[in-house]
Amino acid sequence: MEPLLTVENLRIELTTRDGIAPVIDDLSFDLHAGETISFVGESGCGKSMTALGIMGLLPDKIGRIASGKIIFNGEDLTTTSEQRLREIRGNEISMIFQEPMTSLNPVYTVGEQIAEVLRAHQGLGKKAAWDSAVELLDAVRIPNAQRRVSDYPFQMSGGQRQRVMIAMALACEPKILIADEPTTALDVTVQAQIFDLLRDLSNQSGTAIIMITHDMGAVAEMAERMIVMYAGRNAEQGPVENIIDHPRHPYTKGLISCVPHIMAKLTKERHELTEVGGIVPSLSEFGQDKCLFASRCNMVTQKCLEKRPPEIEFKGGHRSACWFAEKV
């Protein structure tokens, strides 16, 4: 089956005070309809930048796509016009953000905001847009949608606001929904509701979801495939089950084992957590011809410092960019 979105050798450069840094360096992946793919990594590793690149929302004058392709439905988004991008944004690819408190305009009712999206992108009339807004609120399981549609954002809880954001993002039945840390600001019970909602919506409408997160548990629950990003590069990607069962990159291994997880049966003993020492390198080190994780890796050899590791393939489309992927 033809993938919905193909990203090929994408390179995004950011102009900083110390020169040009490749914040995304040679990233490739496919996304199929109805699939959920997850980007994982620490902050500053380029997860959100990938999303902005796909949306064509890179910061003006500072960020640009230097090379590579983003092919959506047979159309290369890196070369298409700004006009066309604007049509695609919100219509065929939409995005929800981390902070539901600030993503909604406080001076309009949620109904007005959802209806506005529908009128702008689908040319619906006032009445029709309003009715769809009510339906959408109902679809994202806001109780009493008929009445709540004329509420202002401040009258809603954090979880409800995030649902309104999802309703807005889904208003035009997008083919791809990008969710950038959609539940980080929310409580776990609310997070569970949102995940449940996203999963159902994806099953019903076949919308593909790109979920950006730092929580391995959330990845395991939500996604079929995952991409572990480190310092702008793909460290490891493949089916979630395979990676969690047997990570092939020391960074992925560290990310999984440094978090205390709740297990099926809790035992008395508690191991010391695995530490991934140090922090993500600064932008000025991005793009060097070596393994950027080497400074934090406990398997590091001379080779890692001299040459950037190639991606090594494992079964099921599992790829890892580590010289010693087989040994991990």
Binding site: T16, R17, E272, T274, E275, G277, G278, I279, S295, R296, N298
Partner: protein
């Protein structure tokens, strides 16, 4: 598990005080640096000018209304034949002293009121902020005129009059900074380790609240100089002391015949106040951490 070093072997950066970084930022703002240089020249002129140029500004030295350059007098003479260079140099001292003293006074009152209100909240804040509002709605020029008229036109009274009407802005800024900073966790941490209220207020919160206050104080010096000029122009000034505003005030009837007698001191005020606000702007940018990032 291999015990990796907790901190990567990075070069230990040179420890720099946040204020040192602000100074560097300020140095990059050319307009502000130029203004600071001009300002320093003006201050030097005010300090050493009268000694180097001992002509008495009240003495009649030449024919009245001599235009600049005539008879060797660089800026000419006014309606009583007094030397305008002497007036400018001696006046600079008074204008700048009043500007600084009045600004200092309003910062002192404003910071005290704002700090108490912002730190203690409750009824203290209610009372102090009502008082602040009272002073804010007073017509400032009229009020200071009343003070000067009541207590006489001497330099200290004029300074007090200006200080009393202009502290409210500082009080409001200080209060809002205190309200913000007192809730920050490092203040909580100090409270949890038993710091006294005085220490919390003056050693922990105030230094962090200073940047906007410093900017406001700089601008206040400028507005105090203007205020003094305004009062002098209206004749509410010590007749035995020369200041820029007083020179303009006393020559105002002759503005059409000898415009230079008014424009030259006016220009002095304009340049000084402009430089002060440029410096204030530069300070604002340098001390604002949001602009300092990256």
């Amino acid at each position: 598990m291999s015990k990796s070093p907790i901190i990567p072997e990075e070069e230990i950066q040179k420890a720099r005080h946040p204020m040192a970084e602000a100074a560097e930022m300020f140095a990059k703002n050319y307009a502000a640096v130029a203004a600071l240089i001009v300002l320093l020249l003006i201050v030097l002129a005010a300090i050493f000018g009268p000694t180097l140029y001992p002509t008495d500004p009240f003495e009649m030295v030449w024919a009245p209304f001599s235009p600049p350059g005539e008879g060797g007098f660089l800026l000419g003479t006014d309606y009583l034949g007094r030397d305008l260079v002497a007036a400018l140099l001696h006046g600079a001292r008074v204008s700048i002293i009043i500007g600084l003293a009045a600004a200092f006074m309003s910062v002192f009152i404003g910071v005290t009121v704002g700090a108490l209100a912002g730190f203690y909240r409750g009824w203290v804040e209610e009372v102090l902020m009502r008082i602040t509002e009272f002073f804010q709605v007073l017509p400032t020029l009229l009020f200071s005129m009343v003070i000067v008229a009541l207590f006489g036109a001497s330099l200290p009274i004029i300074t007090i009059a200006i200080g009393v009407v202009s502290w409210t802005a500082v009080a409001r800024i200080t209060r809002s900074e205190f309200l913000r900073i007192r809730e920050l966790e490092y203040v909580m941490a100090s409270r949890a380790s038993g710091a006294s209220n005085a220490k919390l207020m003056f050693k922990i919160i105030l230094p962090n609240a200073l940047p906007p206050i410093i900017v406001q104080a700089a601008l206040m010096v400028g507005s105090a100089i203007l205020f003094e000029a305004g009062l002098s122009f209206l004749g509410l000034t010590d007749p035995n002391v020369v200041s820029w505003g007083q020179v303009i005030g006393s020559n105002r009837q002759y503005i059409l015949d000898a415009s230079y007698t008014v424009t030259i001191p006016g220009l002095a005020i304009f340049v000084t106040v402009l430089c002060i606000s440029l410096v204030g702007d530069g300070l604002n940018d340098a001390l604002n951490p949001k602009l300092r990032q990256r």
